[in-house]
Structures are given as C-alpha cells and as structure tokens.
C-alpha cells in the first residue's frame, strides 16, 4: 500500500517516463525492420518481378516437344532407302521429379533394369542436370508395347516420367548407301547451336551428320510438335494448355538408282575406292564408296570398338571417297589437255610424235608407261593408247596456265555440290597458284608431268565424272544433283566452242575401249550399245631409276605405295546417256582394275535401261 504515498506517485510518473523512453528506442528498431521488409518486397516484386514471373511460369507450364517424323529417302523409282521405325521410349523430366531414387525404383519394377544400369543412369543424370537442365533425360531403352502401356498406367506413381513415341532411322540397304545417304545421330552441342531453336529440348532428337541426311537436314527434319500443359507442384498433369501436332519432314526423292547402286557396290566391295554414275544432265545415278559401314549401327548407337575399328582401318570406310578422296587424275586428264591444246591452236589432230619409251627435257628423263614405246603416235593414238611421251610434248607446248583455264571451265578444282560437308575441292595448279601456296616459281618440268595428270593436280572422283559428262553430252555445263525434281531437266551453257574438237576426243575414247590396242580394249562391251572411256593410272610415289631398272611391279609393293587405278567413261556411244567414274585406290593400272569394274556396271546399266543381254 506504499503507492498511496505522494512519493510513490512520483515513482509511478518516473516509471512511465522510463517506459516511454525505452519504448521509443524499441520502436525505432521495429520500424526500421518494417522498412527492411518493404524494401525486400520492393526488390522481389518490382525489381525481380519479371524474373520470378518467368520462374513461376516454368513452374507451372511444362512443354513436351514431339520429334516430327523425319522425311524418307527414296530412290528414283520411289523405292525406300531410309525410313523411320516407330519406337517407344521413356524420358524423365528432372524438374518434375521429386526423387530420382524413387523414380528408378518404380521404373525398375516395370523395365527390369539391373543395378549397374541404374547406377550408370544416375551418373548420367547428374551430368545432364548440369549441362541440359531443362531438357528431359531420355533413357537408352527401347520399350516393348507392354512396358510402354504399363508405365502409362502407373504414371501417377512416377511424377516427371514421360513415355513417348519416337522414331529410329532405318536404312534399307545400309552398306550400299551408307556414304551417300549418310547417317543421323544425337545432336551435339555444335549441331544444336546451328539449328533452329525450335528443335532444342526435343527428347531423342537426332540430326543428319553427313551425306544426304546432313545436306537435306532442314527439309527432312520437318516441324517439331509440342504440347504445353500445366502441372502442379508434384509434377502431376493439371490440364493441357496447347497442342501442336507438328509437321512431318519432306521426303527426299533422290536421283539414285538402287539397282545400279547395288551392282556398283557388289563390284567394288572388296576393293577400296568409289564408283559414280551420272546421267548426261548431271543426275547422280550411283555413288558408292568402299569399304562401307553399316549406317544402321549409327542410329542404334554404335559401339566404341566398332567405331574405333572404322577409324583405324587404313582403307577409311567412313569416308565417302567419291566426294572426299583426292587423286592425281593420271591419264584421265588427257582429254582436257587435248581440248585445251586444240582450242588454243597449239596442235591439230595431225600432230605427231615418236615414242621411244623415254624422252629428255632439260636434262631430265621422262618415261612412257609402255616398254619400248608406242612408235609414231598421232593424237587419236595418243589418247587411245595413252602415250605419255605425246602428252609431255603437248603439255610443254600448251603451258600450265592455259590447261588450268580449261580444267577450271570443266569444274576441276571446285566443289561439284553445295551442302555435302565432306566434299573436297582438290587442286588445279597454275603458275600463280604455285607462287601463292607453295611460294616458289613454276618449273617447266612440272608442266610436263601435269600433262599426264601427275604432280600438283588433285581431283575427286565426282569432279572427273562431271568432266566426263560435260564432254560426252556435247560440251554442255551440268550442275550435278542428287535431288530429283519435277522440273524439266535443263542443260547449261556451252563449254566447247568447236564441236570438231570434241569429236576428235570422243573418237579417240571410242578407239581406246573398242579398238585393238586401246588401253581398255579388254573391257569393251560387245553388243548393240557400246561404251567408251579413258583409263588412268596415277602414281603415288616417284619411281626411282633403280626401281625402273629392277622393273618393280605394282603387286610387289606395299598396298599403299601402289598406283591408283582410274577409269572415266560413258555410254551408249551412239547416244551418250550415262557417265561413269571408277577409282580403285592402289589398284594398279587403270586398264587392269578400274576398267573391268566400269564394264560390269555399264553392262548392268545397258541391261536395265536398254534390255541389252549377254554382254
């Protein structure tokens, strides 16, 4: 009861003052904290609002992209070369999955995955999370219909798991067409950076890696479909927001002819080399490279050992030699040397030389391939019997720069196609070229060997085939194509001004194959339709005087030092429609290896297109 006293009253007053003072200090703290809260909200809602809006939508919406069916690849008679097999696969959307362990526990119950596999998947998923966070992780399994249905039935137990329909590329003739069609494979980072972003995050996306699959990727890929749906926090489907079915890719009808392609493959499958058949408008009928590989094994995931064995093989099965192997053209260049010399009035068809096996220029000896020489040689004989001495002299008179002009006009030294990434350009030398790239002046001796297609000159088989076509079709430019269009075939500008010059060359080619003494006489086709062509033997090494003395034969040399065997030709002679190039790596002389193969394939063509039998 002491508070009744006046003193006590005073005490109450001072107490009240003390409380007020301290409450004031407390309030400063309180309201500064409220200030902090408001600035936090300002930061979250005003400054970062957009970012969180995006995150909220990502929470809310899930996009499922559907790979569209890739266009088929067909041959010129609409026979399917590459098609798609429907397969069932399963993917895991890691954003929607609560626990990977639980997911795999559920999946294992259905899919029969062993422990090792599951562990491997988990490792891959950890990596996947780091690199491709928003892309669903696709399991490597191909599901049976039963398992596919089971997973669909049990989806509620496995949030984030999406079974889906996909396609695997299947090649009808995987060995015969492997190089020209190419193959598809999982899109690499580089692939993804180049393609349209609409293809990003597609589960099981495969893109063309090489060949037609790569060249026509855009057409064949189509437009991927997608379905956007809302999911709740547990990854459960709430409702579909939008759906777009996508567009299937366009079918590619090629100019290839399966029958001829198969025949060509059969003819060279035990060799290393390539065959090209082109019609007189430049349509590719056949393009085979050997040895081959199984392109199906690439879509289904090639094993490391198989891939390594391909890489190690000295015959380079993975490279499309028709487009990317470079060879000195050897004697096949002689048609262009002739044409150039005639056009430039260096020689006429009566120009003659005497071949005594060897000749000498500037103190250096140059040899003909034929022992004891050809004797007196005129232009026709020079071509048909492929006399080197004759062409040394023609080349010397012509000079490399004029030859260069003619060769470039016929398409040597530049790409034949657009869009085949594997294609090489080769080299057509000139004095300027040498100065620029070798850094040395041109020597006359180099002109002389260029005249027989040796030295710096490097060509691809497809360039030689184009050259042949432009000669056999009357001297018109062609633009080789592999895509069969409905538009009428067109022929390009005239490349040869005087038809007589061309006639001289064609007569000589006829003689080369169909008259006794011609280099490919043994490979002639007997019957109503004939074919003609020029052999070529290109050296890959310099023959030393000692070797020449020992008369070293090709077959005694290690494989990779043997001569390349070439043949370019056309048929039927009366009305040229088909042009062929055969190159056999280290196959020896053109007449011994390439010409017989060309004959086989040409016979098949005559058989198919002209009904010619018993050839």
């Amino acid at each position: 009861m002491e508070y009744f006293k006046p003193k006590a009253k005073k005490g109450i007053e001072s107490k009240g003052k003390a409380i007020s003072k301290r409450a004031f200090i407390l309030n400063i703290g309180k309201f500064s904290f409220f200030g902090l809260l408001i600035s936090r909200l300002t930061y979250l809602q005003l400054f970062e609002g957009k970012k969180y809006k995006v995150l909220s939508d990502r929470n809310r919406f899930s996009e499922w992209k559907v790979v569209s069916e890739r266009g088929l690849v067909l041959d010129r008679q609409n026979r399917i070369l590459a098609s798609n097999k429907e397969i069932y696969k399963v993917s895991i959307n890691l954003d929607l999955t609560q626990s990977i362990d639980e997911t795999f526990y559920q999946l294992t119950k259905i899919l029969n995955l062993d422990l090792l596999k599951v562990q491997n998947y988990k490792k891959l998923i950890t990596k996947h999370k780091r690199t491709k966070r928003f892309e669903p992780f696709v399991l490597d399994e191909i599901l049976s219909w039963k398992n596919f249905a089971m997973i669909n039935y049990n989806l509620d137990m496995m949030p984030g798991v999406f079974p889906f329909l996909s396609y695997e590329r299947t090649y009808t003739k995987p060995l015969e067409f492997s190089h020209v069609i190419g193959y598809i494979g999982k899109a690499s980072k580089k692939d993804l950076s180049k393609i349209d972003p609409k293809f990003h995050n597609i589960p099981n996306l495969k893109v063309g890696k090489i060949g037609i699959e790569k060249k026509f990727e855009k057409l064949m890929a189509g437009d991927p479909g997608n379905s956007v749906f809302e999911t709740d926090a547990k990854g459960k489907f709430v409702k579909q927001v939008s759906f777009y079915k996508g567009l299937n890719g366009k079918n590619i009808i090629t100019t290839l002819d399966s029958d001829i392609q198969v025949a060509a493959y059969e003819a060279i499958k035990n060799e290393s080399g390539s065959v090209i058949v082109m019609d007189n408008f430049g349509e590719i009928i056949t393009m085979v490279s050997s040895p081959s590989f199984d392109s199906n094994s690439f879509t289904y995931g090639i094993s490391k050992t198989e891939y390594k064995s391909y890489l190690k093989n000295e015959k380079k099965p993975l490279s499309n030699k028709a487009l990317s192997a470079l060879y000195p053209p050897g004697s096949t260049i002689k048609m262009l040397v002739t044409l150039s010399a005639l056009e430039n009035n260096i020689i006429n068809k009566n120009f003659k030389m005497t071949c005594k096996e060897s000749t000498e220029y500037f103190g250096q000896k140059y040899h003909c391939w034929k022992e004891n020489g050809h004797g007196v040689v005129d232009l026709k004989k020079g071509i048909s019997q492929s006399c080197d001495i004759y062409f040394y002299e023609v080349a010397r008179l012509l000079g490399v720069d004029r030859l260069n002009e003619t060769a470039r006009r016929f398409g040597l030294g530049e790409n034949v196609f657009k869009g085949f990434i594997e294609e090489k350009k080769g080299v057509v030398p000139s004095t300027k070229w040498k100065k620029k790239y070798v850094g040395q002046p041109w020597y006359l001796g180099e002109t002389i060997i260029t005249g027989i297609g040796q030295g710096y000159i490097q060509t691809t088989p497809i360039q030689l085939c184009k050259m042949m076509t432009q000669l056999s079709n009357g001297g018109y430019k062609v633009t080789p194509t592999i895509f069969k269009s409905d538009k009428p075939k067109i022929i390009g500008e005239k490349l040869v001004s005087d038809p007589d010059d061309l006639k001289i060359i064609m007569d000589a080619l006829f003689s080369s194959t169909n008259e006794f003494g011609g280099t490919s006489y043994r490979s002639r086709i007997k019957g109503k339709n004939l074919f003609a062509g020029k052999t070529g033997t290109s050296q890959v090494r310099k023959i030393t005087a000692e070797q020449r003395l020992r008369n070293l034969k090709n077959k005694d040399l290690p494989w990779k030092f043997r001569d390349h065997s070439l043949f370019v030709g056309y048929g039927p002679v009366e009305d040229p429609k088909f042009n062929i190039t055969v190159v056999i790596d280290h196959g020896g002389s053109g007449s011994s290896k390439a010409a017989p193969i060309a004959k086989k394939i040409m016979s098949k063509i005559f058989n198919k297109y002209y009904g010619q039998k018993n050839v």
């Binding site: 409380i19 309030n27 409220f34 902090l36 979250l44 547990k234």
Partner: protein
C-alpha cells in the same frame, strides 16, 4: 437503480471501445478471409473454419475488452500458471506431428498452448513489474522471478521441440524486461553469456533445425529439399509483381507449389494475388495497428497496462516481421504465423485475446492499480 447504473456503465464502456483498432482488425480479417477463400479447394473447409474462428475470437475480443483491467491484473499469474500446466500436459498427452508434440486435442479443435504462452508471459511480466519500483528492477533478488517466468516456458517449448516459438517467447520477454527498465549492463551480460553458450546449444539442436539454418543461408543448394519452400515462396511473391496476378489467379498457390500455404505461408498467397500494392497496404494496416496499440499504451495511467500493451504491440511486430521476413527469404523458416491472416485456431484466439486486453486497457485507461 443499481441496474441502471450498471447498464450506464456498460454503455459507457462500449462507447469507449477503440473503434479505430476494431476497424483495422476487421479489415485485416476480411483480407484474411479473401485470401483463405482463394486457396480453399472445398475439401478442407478452410474458409468456413477460418470464418467461424474469426467470429468466435472477435466475440472473445469484445468480452475481454469489456472486462475490467483489474480482473486481468488479478488473474495474470493464474492465467500464466494455467497455460504453463497446459504446456506441460502437451508433453504427456500432446498430438505429434512431424516429430514435434505441440497440440492438445480439445475435441473441438487442437489447442497449441505455446501460442497462448506468448500472451501469458506478457501478462505475468506486466503484473510483476506493476509492483516493482524502478530503482529495484536491477536488483538480483527482484530479477529472479521474472527470469523464472521466462526460462521455464522457454525450456518446455524448446523441448517440444519448437525452437521458433521458444525464441519468439524469449524475444517478447526480453522486450518486456527492457521496457520495465532493466539496466543495459544486464542485457549486455546476458548477450555475452548467450554467445558463449551458443556452440553448446547448437550441438543440442535437432538435425532438422540445423538443416533449416543451413538452408537459410543457401536455399538454392538443395532446390527440391529444404530450400524448396523458400524458393517457391520467393517465386510466388516475386511473380505477383506490382499489381498481382489477380484474385483467385495465383498459379503458385493454386498448383500447390507453396508449402503450408494456408498457415505460415498465407502472406505469400496474398502477395502473389495482390502484388506489391496489396502487400504495402497490408503491412501498413499492421503498422497502424501496432502504432495504435502503442498510443493506447502511452495513454494508460497504470504500469500494468502500459507494459502489457507495449508487450502486445511488440508481440505483433515479431509475428508480422518474422513471418514476412521468413517467407520473403530474409529469415530462416521458423514456423511463425502471421496474426489474423494465418489459418490456425490457437493463434487466432491468442491474437484476439491480446487485442481484447489492449481494448480493455483503453477503456480503463484512467484507472489506477494499487
């Protein structure tokens, strides 16, 4: 005659109710009901239950307000002891959820005594310091009882385990001691001893409590684990933007991305739908409420009312500050609801009871307590 006098008294009491405070409370109540309605799927009857609780508590608020302040002074210790007994009973008869025993089953609803303790300790301390001279506050003999009043419930609640509520009680109690005039040196001494004891107490924490503290510092470390709540909550608040996504249009809350969305995370639900404007308005309402209580406190003549009201206003500040702080990622998730807004029976009753006490202090502000 006596009757007339009594009804006159009643009338004057009703007239003296602080209608401004009641208006703010009703506004927050309406906002709360709207927010709860927006996430009520119809399965849990959150809206219905919340409405009933709000109305019931509101009646309680009026009843408490009209009761004489002397009654509350007189029954302060009794109330404290009653709540303390309930708190201890929880240990024996409590309902367990997620490894913690916090609730008593009362048939109608589950009571959470630790919630009530937040007010009980304020009442008890206010009552104690009503009769202590300011010169005596620092004496160790006079400090023993209030320390006991604080530490006993603190330990019991920590053992439930409910670290958040325990710290809450501690914070409010310390504020009371501070207001009562305890010397700053004693606070410093206490702070130093806590710092020394901190490593020891961390070793006593439950693993999930440690996890929460770790997660607070880096929620993105474990986006689908413990940090999930914070990330999703921040996304919800942030995606609300300036104007909000609109009533009933919160995708984060409607699609269940928010944990405990009807209780501790109700502010997030609100923020997503009503945006920055809504949030500022709501926070201003709470600030007005707190200022209003502080004014009532200042106008009271007796120490009990003054201390109690300041305690309750500080209590509100801690509720709102910690709740918004934790859902916006400023503070660790400690399970503190936001008053009136959050779904939860005990918290609602405690809050309204406390506001009733404030109103009672307002009505009886002229009274001295002897």
């Amino acid at each position: 005659m006596f009757k007339i006098l009594k009804s006159n008294l009643f009338n004057s009491k009703v007239r003296n109710l602080d209608w401004l405070l009641i208006f703010i409370v009703l506004l927050i109540g309406i906002i709360s009901l709207l927010t709860i309605y927006s996430i009520d799927t119809g399965q849990n009857n959150y809206f219905e239950k919340h409405s009933i609780r709000f109305l019931f508590s509101f009646v309680l608020l009026i009843v408490v307000a009209l009761t004489s302040i002397k009654f509350w002074v007189g029954s302060a210790y009794l109330f404290y002891i009653f709540v303390l007994i309930l708190l201890i009973l929880v240990d024996y008869f409590g309902l367990s959820a997620q490894g913690a025993k916090r609730w008593l089953n009362l048939g109608v609803f589950n009571l959470q005594p630790s919630e009530l303790m937040k007010v009980a300790v304020i009442l008890a301390l206010a009552r104690y310091y009503q009769f202590i001279k300011i010169d005596d506050t620092d004496k160790i003999t006079k400090l023993a009882l209030p320390l006991a009043l604080i530490i006993i419930p603190f330990i019991v609640v920590v053992k439930q385990p409910d670290l958040g509520t325990a710290l809450f009680i501690l914070a409010v109690s310390l504020a009371m001691l501070w207001l009562a005039g305890l010397n700053l040196r004693i606070f410093s001494f206490g702070a130093i001893s806590v710092l020394i004891l901190a490593p020891l107490s961390i070793s006593l924490l439950k693993p999930y409590q440690k996890q929460r503290i770790l997660t607070f510092f880096n929620p993105e470390n474990d986006p689908l684990g413990a940090g999930y709540h914070v990330i999703q909550s921040k996304i919800a608040i942030g995606s609300g933007g300036f104007f909000g996504k609109g009533f009933m249009k919160g995708s984060q809350s409607n699609l269940d991305f928010l944990p405990e969305k009807h209780t501790d995370f109700i502010f997030t639900v609100f923020a997503e739908q009503f945006g920055y404007i809504g949030c500022i308005l709501l926070i201003l309402l709470f600030i007005f409420l707190i200022i209003r209580i502080d004014i009532i406190s200042k106008n009271s003549r007796n120490t009990f009312s003054r201390l109690m009201c300041f305690g309750i206003s500080f209590n509100f500040f801690v509720y709102v500050g910690i709740n918004i702080g934790m859902v916006s990622g400023l503070l660790p998730i400690v399970g503190v609801p936001i008053p009136i807004m959050s779904y939860g029976g005990t918290a609602m009753i405690t809050t309204m009871f406390a506001l009733g006490l404030v109103l009672s202090a307002h009505i009886h502000k002229e009274e001295n307590i002897y």
